[in-house]
């Protein structure tokens, strides 16, 4: 299999993530969609590392994974707080700051 197969999988995954991001009303779902997009990027990095024959892409993927984990920690903490204060996790209902 060539590089383009990996890239196609990655692009499909990214588009799924974008679709989820735009359509989900649930904050947890939105977070999951963002994760999909991040992992689509990771697949790209690893695939390029494999076909270029060096480890640069893999190292970047490691960093990216660590970053994503931190993001999920913060995001889920926000979601929990949101749930505690409002009783639901729908993004459009949290609109008190809207002028």
């Amino acid at each position: 299999m060539g590089l383009s197969a990996y890239l196609l999988v990655s692009a499909a995954l990214f588009c799924l993530g974008v679709f989820g991001l735009l359509t989900r009303r649930n904050a947890v779902g939105i977070l999951a969609s963002v994760e999909l997009m991040a992992n689509a990027g990771n697949i790209n990095l690893v695939a390029f590392a494999r076909f270029n024959g060096n480890a640069t892409g893999q190292i970047f993927a490691l960093f990216s994974t660590a970053l994503t984990v931190a993001e999920v920690v913060v995001g889920l903490a926000l979601v929990i707080l949101l749930y505690r204060s409002r009783g639901d996790v729908l993004v459009e209902s949290a609109s008190e700051l809207k002028g």
Binding site: V18, L21, L22, V91, E92, S95, L97, K98, G99
Partner: protein, 609 residues
Amino acid sequence: MSPIQLALLATFLPLGTAFSLIVLPGVRRAGKLPGYISVVTALVALVSALQLFAYGLEVHDIARVTTQWLPHSVLGASSAAPSTIEIGVLLDGLSVSMLVVVCLVAFCVQVFSLGYMADEPPADFGRYFTWQSLFLFAMNTLVIAPNLLQLFLGWELVGLVSYLLIGYYWKKPSAARAALKAFWITKLADMGLVAGLIVLFVNTGSFNWTGTVAVAGPVTLLLFIAVMGKSAQFPLHVWLPDAMEGPTPVSALLHAATMVAAGVFLVARAHPLFEQAPNTQNFMAYVGGFTALFASIVAVVQNDIKKVLAYSTCSQLGYMVCALGAGSQVAGFFHLTTHAFFKAMLFLAAGGLIHAVHSNDIHHMGGLFRKMKLTSGAFIIGALALAGVPGFSGFFSKDLILEEVWERGLYLPFAALLIAAFLTAFYMGRVVFIALFGKPSEHAEHAHESGFAMTFPLVVLAIPALCAGYFGAELSGMYGEATHFHLSPVGMTASALGLCGIGLSYFMFGAPQGGAALRTVFAPLGRLAASGIVDKSFLFGYRTVLRGFAGGIGWFDRYIIDGLMNAIGYVTLEVGARLRPLQTGKVQDYVYVMVVATIALGTFAAFLR
């Protein structure tokens, strides 16, 4: 004491008195005490001035002591010459004579005021004498000024005191209005003085009146605008008749003898400057001549005794200005001196008459001569001096002016002055025949001679009013070249005209069956003069021209400038309101836009390649 010390004493003692009265309300309200303090101050100033006079300074004997006031750097470097601004004392014949005039008249007026103002409440009485002392300081500062900047200082101070004293009866709306009117009109004219000083300083680097000045023309013209305001020359004379709202002694001191003469003094002082500007001098001669004529016409129909004297002051100041315009510092200043004495006496005598009948109207007086011999006598002496009857002081100075104007070849102003001389005698005759000899009115029934305080100053002033003319040669020697008096055809014509004026007024107002026919002849002239045409034209100018202009500017500001700003604001608000729905606050909408935009831009880039 040295001359300088005497001059400083005469100037700063009144300031001390005024200052003490201002900061010590207890003294100011202590009944007659402030009046006595002020009179003693004026007496000390008078004695100092007389002693200075006794030194017999001539115009070239100049005692000048100055100290640096403003360093040059404060005023910014001028391109011409390095300069320092000085403040100090300048004593020569001119300033010493003026000091004597000011102090003598001020002393007499203050003594008179002790009687005239005796019924005022203590607080107002104190206030009155505070301003009187302040005036003496201000006027003396002006007189001894060694340069135009210090003169300007005194000039503005006397203007302030004039405002305060005209508005002495400030509870009367007309007095408050008159004070404001005097203040505004003189301030308007003083803009000319400020501008003239600036032009002078920028070009020469000093405020001195000596030396050759390239810009003498504009500078003197600007100075003359201020003179027109202060010395009540047409058309800026309108404040002076209204200034009669002040107490009569104030009118005598400020608005007849000294303050209004400050303008004449300025021109006499800055004579070297004016000599370099013949065009300004000619303009002055015409303005002065016209004012002399115009004011004497208006005076003929006034019934208020103070208004008659006010217009007569205007007219006599016109004589002085005309003389200065003819280049004769001596004639102008000589007339200033004699006029100060007899006009102050006239005003004080008029004050006595007013005090006796409690009315300003000459028809309410009537036959006062029999009841108030001394006051009436003083008034008659003053009137004869003013009319230029031979032998009285006004005759000599008026004659000198007419001669100088004739010799300079200013025939039109000369004719105006000659007619004014006739009218002067006529209106003074009218006042004398109606107020002193006319039919007694019921107002005058209980009139009686005034007390010592109100007759003594009249006697003091009557002496110079009678005799000052005979010392013309000596006096003129003090402030210019000595002029010897000689009978000239010009002077005789003027005197003859004056006598005719008196005779005519006798036939019209004095004779038992007064000439009714003559009165009808003069009626249209009277109506014209009584209509207050100058005041009306000022009002017209104010209401239509100035307010129209201001209205136009206001319209432009309101609808064009403000309109532009409002339009910008309106458009911004509208655009904001339209764009506002785009800002939903939902992150997903923004992401949507972002995605679509990225796809669009990517597609666009792909096509571009």
